[in-house]
């Protein structure tokens, strides 16, 4: 198993190197002069040139690349011009916010989608199957910002059940001591149930928005994969040996059907992590997606580099986790590692 993980890590090295090169070139290719932007609108050409040499932008590309990589190894991703903070600090601040939102959204989604998909497959053609189809289609066809706004309108504006959609924590609460960066967990570690409740209240609407959107792929995949497995010979054997339907569906069918579902989960998670900009905007969520978009609009390249690099590394780690999970579920995969 360890050997498989090692071998799998090895194969990720080329892709990480590729990502580093691309992110480096990206900022050199994108329009806009960083030095001019840095110097401000009133700067003289002389001042711009001075800043350019200070930033090392007058050096030949290979030299720039070496210094970029050297800084990268030290964990230095550069300074953000808009926030004035090191990019590393910004990302460390904002990544947990996005991760927490996406994770909770995905867990919610799974909690609904997996049982729904299994039930739809087991009772194929019944009302639950139709419900599954309707829910999935509706969820995926509504844009996330619309669902988000609708939820805000209903639950905050009309019913007043949820707090104002203004970030991760109400202003009256102070953040718990930072351990993981995930507010729900940090507040529990600090045994601060009030803060936990407040953080959860802020989180629930955006998480539901994401969950509604990601219901479709997970439900459909679970249903299709369950249907295929339920028709398999070994399920027939299990039935013919008199195993209870719970055992047949749970232990025999579901575990086998999980394989393609796990793949879908990984894809949905990494997609949501980078692409939930709209949800973050609607709920004023200080996440990594909105950070990157703001930086892009401001021609602030260091954060974009950092964002792309972080996302790439997360993809790699996520895929590794999925591969390991595959090995746990399916003994045949372990052999090939």
């Amino acid at each position: 198993m360890l050997r498989m993980i090692g071998a799998r890590l090895m194969t990720t090295v080329p892709s990480v190197i590729g990502v580093i090169i691309v992110t480096f070139l990206l900022t050199r290719v994108l329009p806009g002069d960083t030095a001019a932007y840095f110097a401000g609108p009133a700067a003289t050409p002389q001042a711009i040139a001075e800043i350019r040499s200070k930033l090392g932008l007058d050096q030949p590309l290979p030299v720039q690349f070496v210094s970029y990589v050297t800084a990268l190894v030290k964990g230095d991703l550069g300074q953000s011009l808009t926030t004035g903070q090191p990019v590393t600090a910004d990302l460390a601040q904002r990544l947990p916010a996005s991760a927490e939102l996406t994770l909770v959204g995905l867990l919610l989604s799974m909690a609904i989608a997996l049982p729904l998909g299994v039930l739809a497959a087991v009772r194929q053609g019944s009302w639950i199957d139709h419900l599954c189809r309707v829910v999935a289609t509706a969820g995926v066809s509504l844009p996330v910002f619309f669902t988000g706004l609708l939820l805000v309108y209903v639950f905050y504006f009309i019913l007043g059940w949820s707090p104002a959609p203004l970030g991760r924590l109400d202003v009256f609460f102070s953040e718990p001591p930072r351990v993981t960066g995930l507010l729900l967990i940090d507040s529990l570690i600090a045994r601060d149930l009030e803060t936990f409740r407040a953080a959860a209240a802020q989180l629930i609407l955006p998480a539901v928005t994401l969950a509604i959107f990601s219901l479709a792929p997970i439900t459909r995949m679970t249903r299709a994969s369950m249907l295929a497995v339920l028709g398999a010979d070994f399920v027939r054997t299990a039935r013919a040996s008199g195993l209870s339907s719970g055992k047949v569906i749970g232990t025999y069918a579901f575990r086998n059907a999980m394989l393609p579902v796990v793949t879908t989960l990984g894809m949905v998670f990494s997609f949501l992590l980078g692409a939930n900009v709209l949800v973050e905007k609607v709920f004023a969520w200080p996440g990594i997606g909105s950070y990157a978009v703001e930086a892009l609009i401001a021609s602030d390249y260091a954060p974009i580099q950092g964002f792309v690099l972080t996302m790439a590394v997360m993809y790699v780690v996520l895929n590794l986790l999925i591969d390991i999970l595959y090995g746990v579920i399916d003994p045949r995969v372990r052999l090939e590692g």
């Binding site: 398999a232 010979d233 054997t237 039935r239 040996s241 008199g242 232990t251 025999y252 590692g337």
Partner: protein, 565 residues
């Protein structure tokens, strides 16, 4: 038989709801199985034999239901029983063994755990004793080192071993009735014999009743007390096993019997009475003595590297593991095929016969050795570019599964013409159609079926399409890879006769790859017996199959189920 049968199926009708309305898969059948009795249900595909058994255990598809009749099992009405009652019966009182044992086991659960599941379900063991009892069950089906096998996954076991596990699973709770649905289809003859002997021995020992569902009359007669013959959902004949071979009553039984290849019969005898038989030709090979053979294979070797786990990592660490010796699938074999001859390539799975046929067909590159075809070493031409060689036209192949070897989106005509279109030997729409019709007539495929897609054709018709495709370019050598393995016996009889007739008419040579020695005996002039990549015996069909010299050939021959004489 006791007065009250253990299982009493009376007037059973099973219906399936399809898009075109209701279809009766089983029509008012009556079958009784007494205590300790072994009954065979024999029939070809679509006869309803499997549906009957599924109805007994009530594991029919959603679309299927018992429309009429009753099934009573030691006094319990199985049609009226509720699901909980059925669940208690399944596995504990009535067990099933299935075709394709590897697929019948959960691929990602240890086999021992699967046996435990059944034991625990039927309260035959507690969680403390389950493991012990599961190992005991494995021991009873004579699996070597049962403690180790307990932790094995199905993919780590051979087909025969998997079937033993399935049997262990079925017999774990000491049921009274065992239903074996084609338990040995797809297994080698020697494995088939071992598995069938095991089933019979274990069930006799415990006084169990058995229903054996099979398409193989020989198997049924050799192992069962009584035989029930089914055709198109109806029982056409029920008789004692011995009687059915000596005096088959129903015409369908007679047809089935006739189509089953047996010792001491000619190819034409397989066809039902009344069909015009081709004039009995001397089956001596029409080869000229001294003429150069069409194909000569010399010292052919195919090696596969052993999979090395984490080799890349080891190399990166700078301590490469010692190279494991490569696996030799084909280990230096030599034989020749004369013009107009049919050579049988015989052996069990894993003996290298398919690898050999792939190399001869030039779909796979040999590791070493020569394949001389008509004076040219075609083994030296890489398989990747062989399609462009003029030799491609002269060596063609008929594949094992007539369904899987046809493109589902091609009509029969398109499939037959495929090689012609690729080689460009015939131009023009009209000329192509004409050639296609000519080929269809040659293989006896009705011309009006040419525009149909594979799923609209029967198994026999698909086999004909595959044969027409192979002979479309008028090849000199056709490699037949178990061309009838997926066909019913009566269809097989027709296809085998067709193949023989085509060979005479078109002057081709065949290499016939098969594990069915009875078929090989009928069709082949000479036979090569392979085992673990090597040739163990070679000679004319009469010599090898009539008076085998090698131990292995004898073993193969005795493993064929022989009906009671």
């Amino acid at each position: 038989m006791t007065a009250l049968p253990l299982l009493d199926i009376s007037n059973l009708t099973v219906e399936f709801a399809t898009r075109r309305g209701k279809v009766q898969a089983v029509k008012s059948i009556d079958i009784q199985v007494g205590k300790g009795e072994t009954v065979a249900i024999v029939g070809e595909s679509g006869s309803g034999k499997s549906v009957t058994s599924y109805a007994v255990v009530r594991i029919l598809d959603r679309a299927g239901k018992v429309a009429e009749g009753s099934i009573s099992f030691s006094g319990v009405d199985l049609v009226a029983a509720d699901e909980a009652q059925m669940r208690d019966l399944r596995g504990r009182e009535i067990s099933m063994i299935f075709q394709n044992p590897r697929a019948a086991l959960n691929p990602i659960r240890k086999v021992g755990r699967q046996i435990e599941d059944v034991l625990l379900q039927h309260v035959q063991a507690t969680s403390a004793t389950a493991k012990e009892k599961a190992i005991e069950a494995l021991e009873k089906v004579r699996i070597a080192r049962p403690e180790e096998r307990y932790d094995a996954y199905p993919f780590e076991l051979s087909g025969g071993m998997c079937q033993r596990v399935v049997i262990a699973l079925a017999l774990a709770c000491q049921p009274q009735l065992l239903i074996a649905d084609e338990p040995t289809t797809g297994l080698d003859v020697t494995t088939q014999k071992a598995v069938m002997d095991l089933i019979v021995e274990l069930t006799r020992e415990r006084g169990m009743s058995t229903i054996l569902i099979t398409h193989d009359l020989g198997l049924a007669a050799a192992y069962c007390d009584r035989v029930v013959v089914m055709e198109k959902g109806k029982v056409v004949e029920t008789a004692e096993a011995a009687a059915i071979f000596h005096a088959p009553q129903h015409p369908y039984t007679r047809k089935l019997m006739q189509a089953t290849p047996r010792l001491g019969m000619a190819l034409a005898d397989l066809l039902p009475e009344g069909t015009p038989k081709p004039p009995a030709q001397a089956r001596a090979p029409a080869t000229l003595a001294g003429a150069a053979p069409l194909m000569q294979v010399e010292n052919l070797v195919k090696e596969y590297p052993r999979p090395a786990g984490g080799a890349l990592l080891a190399k990166l660490r700078g301590k490469a593991e010692p190279e494991k010796p490569a696996f030799r699938a084909v280990d230096g074999i030599s034989f020749s095929v004369a013009r107009g001859e049919t050579l049988g390539l015989v052996g069990e799975s894993g003996c290298g016969k398919s690898t050999t046929s792939m190399m001869i067909t030039r779909l796979l590159d040999p590791t070493s050795g020569r394949i001389v075809f008509d004076g040219q070493d075609i083994g030296a031409m890489p398989a990747r570019t062989f399609a462009a060689s003029p030799f491609r036209r002269r060596i063609q192949m008929v594949f094992q599964d007539p369904t899987d070897s046809l493109n589902p989106r091609f009509t029969a005509q398109r499939a037959i013409l495929d090689p012609i279109l690729r080689m460009g030997t015939v131009e023009g729409r009209a000329a192509l159609r004409e050639r296609c019709e000519e080929l269809a007539r040659l293989v006896g495929l009705p011309v009006e079926l040419l525009d149909r897609f594979p799923h609209q054709l029967s198994g026999g018709q698909k086999a004909r399409v595959g044969i027409a495709r192979a002979i479309a370019l008028e090849p000199d050598l056709v490699i037949l890879d178990e061309p009838t393995a997926a066909l019913d016996v009566s269809v097989q009889a027709v296809v085998l006769n067709l193949l023989d007739e085509l060979k005479q008419r078109l002057g081709m040579s065949y290499i016939f790859v098969s594990h069915d020695l009875n078929v090989v005996r009928l069709l082949c002039d000479r036979v090569v017996v392979m085992r673990s990549g090597r040739i163990v015996e070679e000679g004319t069909a009469e010599e090898v199959l009539g008076a085998p010299k090698a131990e292995y050939t004898k073993e193969l021959l005795t493993a064929i189920p022989h009906p009671p004489a």
